[in-house]
Amino acid sequence: MSALRIFVPCDAAARAVGADRVAATIRDEAARHGVEVEIVRTGSRGLFWLEPMVEIATPTGRIAFGCVTPNDVPGLFAGYSRFAASHPLCVGRPEEIPFLKRQTRITFARCGIVDPLSLDDYRAHDGLRGLERARSLGPAGTVAEVTTSGLRGRGGAGFPTGIKWKTVADAPADRKYIVCNADEGDSGTYADRMLLEGDPFVLIEGMIIAGLAVGAGKGYVYIRSEYPDAIRTFSKAVAVAEAAGLLGAAAGFEIEVRVGAGAYVCGEETSLLESLEGKRGQVRAKPPLPAHKGLFGQPTVINNLISLATVPAILADGAEAYAALGMGRSRGTMPIQLAGNVKHGGLFEAAFGLTLGEIVDEIGGGTASGRPVRAVQVGGPLGAYFPRALFDTAFDYEAFAALDGLIGHGGVVVFDDTVDMARQARFALEFCAIESCGKCTPCRIGSTRGTETMDKIIRGERVTDNLALITDLCQTLKFGSLCALGGFTPYPVMSAIKHFPEDFDRPRLVAAAE
């Protein structure tokens, strides 16, 4: 009899809730029962409320067990059949769990299924098909395919990826670079982390394709230091790909992993380039565009990790198939990340166009605390806070921009009715003050003055005057900053004031508290 194959995620979030201890207990318990097991450490499927989620291979596919603790493991081995589907923790076939079944998994097709460091596993699950097709299409054909797919920057700016690639492809230079922005600093987002830990080869393949398309021989992946697991797994994957001849000088494309140093602003592309060059992560003025003068002054494709990791699937299955999904000018799928006070927190990859209400109430299942949903912040610390009244907004770049918000990197953070929106507005300004690179005066000084002014509002001092001051300051930040940090900090601040005015009615609130 062959060994029982058991899949336990090694994703950092699964490890954070005990996946390592579960894996160790499974190993011990199997030995005690004399059962031969093969434990495969996968990435996460992204159903985090069920983590640690353990799956076993059966002749008819995998069966999953949710929220497994080490104490549950002996029970899973007890009885006549191991890991019986009748066990109370059994959630059935993972693909049939509604949260997963409703998704359109393209970028995350393999995440949580494969062994992240097995190139054979990657190939067996359709890996490297995109690269093959790119090689047959040639550079111009590959760029055209990416353009046709309608793929836009998944970091938040939403710039068409194909056009960026074309600009770099057309720029004459001896050296060009591919830079992957894996400085995923937005609270509520973890898609980059999941792929780095769960399917690193898809990023490697995407970067090789990008290199081929624009004529670049070197790629950098800039991963934030807050992601130690991702750095470890991705670095190993690069070594595996080098050993297999996929990467390296002989293969014509090299990848170097670089680690950030705790600066949120380095997620901004020009600041990231400065950081790679070994400088302070200060924003550069544009033009020149990185596509013309990027890393070390050379033409550079700088893309978000999700954009690059989506390219292999686009090439493999054709641009039309990808472009057929989505709405308006937002084509394809977006990995939406449900986070914070949400019942079913996890990664939900779907075509653009779901409404915010569907995402939060139906898919997310409301709050984890069981209290009413009051506010939702979309797109990280620079994203707007939305009230329930705007839950009919469609998840789409333009629809969010029209409401003075952004979809950013796809993070959705849910808050229940205990949230104090004046404090959230204050935090947005404080965060800007902590993370400002210092180049622009409105951001460097305005963020600190804004935080102080919000403190006065929270204390109930001259609230009307101070709110007017905040509004004026936000105008200055919005129009006087070089990058999104200063430019978009007004979104969470002004949306909180606009949609939740009652939380800024401080004299009454202060009086009520006393």
Binding site: E51, R193, S225, E226, A263, G278, G340, G345, F427
Partner: protein, 155 residues
């Protein structure tokens, strides 16, 4: 455990990055991994090796939150203070930790046992509130699990 400052060891680290483009951050990370911080004498040494001014190197060291002037405690607890963790009462739990160990944000206990730092997102937002203890992820923190964590850290 970080080793004491050693100039020739620092030279070895710098040499390891020879030929690399833009090597300053990788060098600083390695120096900090070795010595637990960026020791003051490392700055002129790195500056000379990379043909930079001391001010330029100092400017980079002081820009990034990760680089320290003095070593942290034996254990480092990074607590997430970003929005997703706020939505799950992370601030109240953080207060509990700070009170328990009698430190402020960024502070180290007088015996050098523990440093508690704020971090803004660990990407564990669907298992909030979250933390990193000596680089190991912890999620779904509660009053009870924070107490257990404090016990584990000791003192």
């Amino acid at each position: 455990m970080p080793t004491a400052w050693n100039e020739s060891r620092a030279s070895e680290i710098i040499r390891r990055h020879e030929g690399r483009e833009g090597p300053l951050l990788p060098i600083l990370h390695d120096v900090q991994a070795e010595f637990g911080c960026i020791p003051a004498p490392a700055i002129p040494q790195i500056a000379t090796a990379l043909n930079l001014t001391r001010a330029e190197v100092h400017g980079v060291v002081s820009f990034y939150h990760d680089f320290r002037e003095a070593p942290a405690g034996r254990h480092v607890l990074k607590l997430c203070r970003a929005e997703a963790c706020q939505s799950m009462q992370g601030e109240a739990l953080a207060d509990q930790v700070l009170r328990h160990f009698g430190v402020a944000w960024g502070g180290t206990t007088p015996d050098g046992h523990l440093t508690v730092e704020a971090t803004y997102c660990l990407g564990l937002c669907a298992c909030a509130p979250s933390a990193l203890l000596d680089g190991e992820p912890r999620g779904r923190l509660t009053t009870a699990s924070i107490a257990a964590l404090a016990e584990e850290i000791g003192r």
